[in-house]
């Protein structure tokens, strides 16, 4: 019986549970002996010209080794946005003439001891001449106050052409409804904040310990920021305490730590406070969406339009380009005859936007799922029925949407039916009806979301997705795997070991996984976009198979048989002559004379498209507006499930984050650009009391794109849960005339929606 598909406990757990993970701040290494501590002076104002920076008082504070400003960093080139963006939106790595958000980097203070840093930072005196803040989408688009004067605009990029929208798109529709909704800004807030440690060697190379989602990308990013060649940068990835999309590549802070180390000729370390993390780690989402949906009273949707304004924050980073992915997934799992989508990314005097669990795709699903419910309400049809009538029928051959996405396999109606059955949908509607008839002040809401999402993207059709793996069997019967993925909680040590074990017959606990050290693994795509299992896992499996072929040749010569006559017995991890089990040789012994290893690259034909349906059940206290999440029931179909324990964990985490966005979390700025949610006391980070246990149903529609039949599961949970919960809240209050509530459905927002509905009644 194969180990694949079974609930193998994680081999990495014992050390996490006993001595704890070794995160960047925990690293003890002789190369870091005598390290100094780096602290950043950050702007307390959202938009201002810098009049002057005086570090003299800081330099006299106890333990201060040095202080630096932009003037000292002349050798570092300005950071330019990607080629698709307005190239006039470059900025220096430390602010020189102006600051553009609360948290913008202004100066560096270096101390002997960690405890001396904050004392010294307080003494740096910066002269700010305030400029008006640019916070709202409207203010940004108005271009009256510009963040980058040379750019002449706050628009960083356009996706599609708004002037080319089809004014006749909704002509044949009996019913059309439109609304501008908010997919609000949230903070990824991994439990481990960002950190870095750097030390230069005699050979002119820098070794940097940085928590990341792909050491190779961090290496390239750090090299670019410092004007180095990639070979001069050695990245080591310690344990990473969560990332959720916000730890890709290299941030200015990482580069500055390395720069300080070179400047001072000694190792340097930095770790950020939670305040810094909440204002300077990239944020997620922040799209204003205008959805227009039209169709017939029989429930057929004929047309859908999505118009997006993406808030990019002050600096143009990954977030500015995410509308590209939102547009790609505009029509979701639906067969909508006519659909179009456009987007604009604008800069604002706020924290920059980056990737956050789903990165552009949750936004697409949230928009169309809200639109589906708006349409359902307009025609008075059950939202499940509306979805059923419009979902694409099942397919096993790839299906290309008019937005250019090539869905591999899907059975969306089955997912919907399965989750409705698991939730007891009819009984829930019955209970809702009874509560309404009684006039209960605690309303029951049932919300749906059907979704499809894209995982394992490559770099377009010219560069199909791929990943490398090296598998080596050692004479002592153990094995080592090198992977280009970058786990930060996903359990690759266990999962990749299962894949190798399944082929080689070596026990899981005798297999070691290595990753994240660019000297050891120079190439790799990291972990993000839910790519790891389908590409990285497939590569491990492939490498193990290729290793067996090499081993077979060696075994044949040792057993003096022809390779074709040999059989590999996985249970014994040995080759035997077919029909003669005594004539056998253990796999490990074939590594004795010569190393037994294979490096392979697995290439996938393209991205895969997991899908699912979620049902959320909420109770809304109509007297206070408070939402309580009672149940979330999901189908998340990502093909074959390699390890149900791990897959469920990914779904749980995604569901929780998705739900949290719907009714709890948001980053808030006041009109002057001051962040109001810059601590875990103020940012409503989800705790265990706000969510129930989740109910997961199993569905596995394999893909043909890799031998395992797997798609990506890491982000799917968050994509489905957000609209399911939002729709549930609105559904709870539909009988009172509420049609929409923006996220998060905070008590005040819900209560105000109820008041407005009463007034309209």
């Amino acid at each position: 019986m194969s180990i694949l598909g079974t609930r193998v406990l994680r081999t990495e757990d014992p050390r996490f549970l006993t001595s704890g993970g070794v995160y960047t701040e925990d690293v003890v290494d002789e190369r870091l002996a005598g390290a100094c501590h780096v602290f950043f002076v950050r702007s307390p104002v959202a938009h201002a010209r810098i009049g002057g920076i005086d570090v003299s008082a800081a330099l006299s504070a106890p333990g201060v080794v040095a202080a630096f400003t932009a003037a000292d960093l002349g050798e570092l080139a300005p950071i330019k946005p990607g080629p698709m963006f307005n190239q006039q939106m470059a900025r220096p790595i430390l602010a020189s003439d102006k600051v553009r958000y609360v948290g913008d980097l202004v100066a560096i203070v270096v101390t002997e001891q960690a405890y001396q840093g904050e004392d010294a930072v307080e003494l740096v005196d910066v002269d700010y001449d305030p400029l008006p803040a640019v916070i709202s989408f409207a203010d940004a688009a108005a271009d009256k106050v510009l963040l980058y004067e040379e750019a002449g605009t706050n628009v960083a990029a356009n996706f599609g052409d708004a002037s080319q929208l089809d004014e006749h798109l909704f002509d044949e529709c009996e019913v059309v409804t439109t609304r501008t909704i908010l997919n609000q800004r949230v903070a990824p807030a991994p439990m481990e904040t960002r950190a870095a440690a750097a030390a230069w060697g005699e050979d002119g190379r820098v070794t940097a310990w940085i928590p990341n989602q792909g050491a190779q990308g961090t290496q390239a990013g750090l090299a670019r920021l410092l004007g180095l060649k990639a070979e001069q940068v050695h990245i080591i990835t310690p344990d990473v305490g969560g990332a959720f999309g916000a730890k890709f590549g290299a941030d200015p802070e990482h580069a500055l730590v390395a720069w300080v180390a070179r400047q001072l000729g000694r190792p340097a370390r930095w770790s950020e406070t939670r305040y810094e993390n909440l204002i300077a780690m990239t944020h997620g989402r922040a799209q204003q969406q205008t959805v227009t949906i039209g169709g017939q009273r029989d429930g057929t949707v004929l047309a859908y339009r999505l118009e997006i304004v993406q808030d990019s924050g002050a600096h143009v980073r990954i977030g500015a380009m995410l509308p590209f992915l939102t547009i790609l997934m505009t029509s979701g799992p639906y067969a909508i005859p006519r659909a179009e989508s456009v987007a604009t990314s604008v800069v604002t005097t706020t924290t920059s936007l980056g990737a956050y669990r789903g990165a552009g795709r949750p936004e697409a699903t949230a928009a169309i799922e809200r639109a589906m419910d708006l349409f359902a309400a307009e025609i008075g049809m059950d939202p499940a029925e509306v979805r059923r009538r419009n979902l694409l029928p099942p397919f096993t051959e790839p299906h290309r949407t008019k937005f250019g996405a090539l869905y591999d396999t899907g059975d969306y109606v089955a997912a919907l039916d399965k989750v409705l059955a698991a939730a007891g949908y009819d009984e829930l509607r019955q209970e809702q009806a009874e509560r309404r008839a009684r006039g209960d002040t605690v309303a029951l809401g049932i919300g749906l979301a059907s979704y499809v999402e894209i995982t394992g993207m490559g770099d377009g059709e010219e560069a199909p997705p791929q990943e490398n793996a090296t598998v080596e069997v050692h004479p002592d019967g153990t094995a080592t795997i090198l992977t280009g993925t970058s786990p930060h909680g996903q359990g690759h040590e266990t999962a990749w070991a299962m894949l190798a074990s399944d082929q080689l017959g070596i026990p899981v606990d005798k297999i070691t996984l290595k990753w994240g050290d660019t000297d050891l693994v120079p190439e790799g795509g990291g972990t993000g976009g839910s790519r790891s299992l389908q590409h990285g896992g497939s590569a491990v499996r492939q490498a193990a198979q290729e290793l067996l072929e090499i081993a077979r040749e060696r075994a044949a010569s040792e057993l003096e048989a022809s390779p074709a006559d040999l059989r590999f017995d996985v249970e014994r991890s040995a080759f035997e002559v077919a029909g003669d089990p005594d004539a056998s040789v253990p796999l490990a012994s074939l590594a004795e004379e010569e190393r037994l290893l294979v490096r392979t690259v697995f290439t996938a034909p393209g991205a895969t498209f997991p899908f699912g349906s979620h049902v959320a059940v909420v109770e809304v206290d109509t007297e206070t507006g408070k939402v309580v999440l009672r149940r979330i029931v999901t189908v998340d179909d990502a093909g074959f499930v390699l390890n149900p324990l791990l897959a469920e964990g990914q779904r749980h985490g995604g569901i929780a984050q998705g739900a949290a966005q719907a009714f709890l979390e948001e980053v808030v700025y006041d009109d002057d650009g001051n962040p109001l949610t810059a601590s875990f006391a103020d940012y409503p980070f989800l705790s265990a009391t706000e969510v129930p246990s989740f109910e997961l149903a199993d569905m596995q529609t394999l893909t043909s794109y890799n031998p395992l039949g797997v798609k990506g599961i890491g982000e799917a949970g968050s994509i489905g849960a957000t609209p399911a919960v939002q729709n549930a809240v609105v559904d709870a209050l539909a009988h009172l005339g509420v049609r929409h509530i923006d996220m998060p459905a905070s008590p005040q927002r819900v209560w105000r929606a109820l008041q407005a509905a009463k007034e309209n009644a």
Partner: protein, 269 residues
């Protein structure tokens, strides 16, 4: 984030603490559980030069009955108050309130005296003390005086404690069997109240409806005049000055005050 540097001295007795406060003046602050003070110091919103530790003084911990009152040492942790059989029997509103402060770890350290002296209008215990009609014993150079809850909370994070004084004990009337209600409206379990309401014996106290915990006197008067819970609660927001923040604006706070007061009067928790 870490506090600015400071000196530390452990008081040997409450009287010693008073002497230290006197000699060190405004630069010194008292430290019991530290779960109101240390978070402020870590954010550098408080920068005392000296901390006087009274957290382990036996004279300041413990709960006992004294005639018609429960007397609780000021340095008694919230968890102790919450799980005290005596408090649960004779002042269940207080035990319940203490059991809602923060989270379990915070309740193991934070103290009733510390919380009251911190005087956060959004906190549980100031509201509870006001609803119960309790008082605090205050020790200074001139000896001990007793201050009623009404007179203790004077402003936003301000009390009537004079320099050189410390709270030594908290007193609440023993009311076994009295019906009570307590409402703490939060978005997450370990948050401070967006609005809170506590009711017992015809007294109603509100949290986070002004710079101090407040009595809902108009509602109390309506009750005294024979109004029912719902009718009286309609007046709960009168005389309040709620603030605005990310969670609630003034109008919503006033609405919550009315709803929560009604629920507290219905003896709901």
């Amino acid at each position: 984030m870490i506090p600015a540097p400071f000196d530390y001295v452990a008081a040997q007795s409450p009287a010693h603490a008073v002497d230290l406060l006197d000699s060190l003046g405004d630069d010194a602050k008292l430290l019991a559980g530290g779960h109101s003070l240390l978070p402020m110091m870590k954010l550098r919103l408080a920068v005392p030069a000296v901390l006087i530790d009274i957290g382990r003084l036996a004279e300041l911990t413990g709960i006992r009955a004294e005639d018609g009152e429960l007397v609780i040492g000021a340095a008694t942790p919230h968890a102790t108050v919450a799980t005290s059989g005596l408090a649960q029997a004779d002042a269940p509103l207080l035990a319940h309130s203490a059991g809602l402060v923060g989270d379990p770890q915070i309740r193991h350290r934070g103290t009733i005296g510390g919380s009251l002296a911190h005087a956060d209008p959004a906190a549980d215990l100031p509201m509870a003390l006001l609803a119960l009609g309790g008082s605090v014993d205050v020790l200074g150079q001139a000896g001990t005086r007793n201050v009623a809850a009404e007179d203790f909370f004077t402003g936003f994070f301000e009390t009537s404690l004079k320099p050189g004084e410390l709270v030594t004990a908290v007193r609440v009337p023993r009311r076994p069997g009295a019906a009570w209600g307590y409402q703490k409206f939060v978005r997450r379990a370990n948050d401070w109240a967006i609005v809170g309401a506590a009711a017992i014996d015809g007294r109603i106290a509100l949290a986070n409806m002004g710079p101090t915990p407040l009595r809902a006197r108009a509602a109390e008067q309506a009750l005294a005049d024979g109004a029912g819970a719902a009718e009286a609660a309609e007046l709960a927001a009168e005389g309040t000055e709620p603030g605005e923040d990310v969670h609630a604006d003034r109008g919503y706070r006033r609405h919550l005050a009315r709803v929560l007061t009604r629920r507290a009067l219905e003896h709901r928790t």
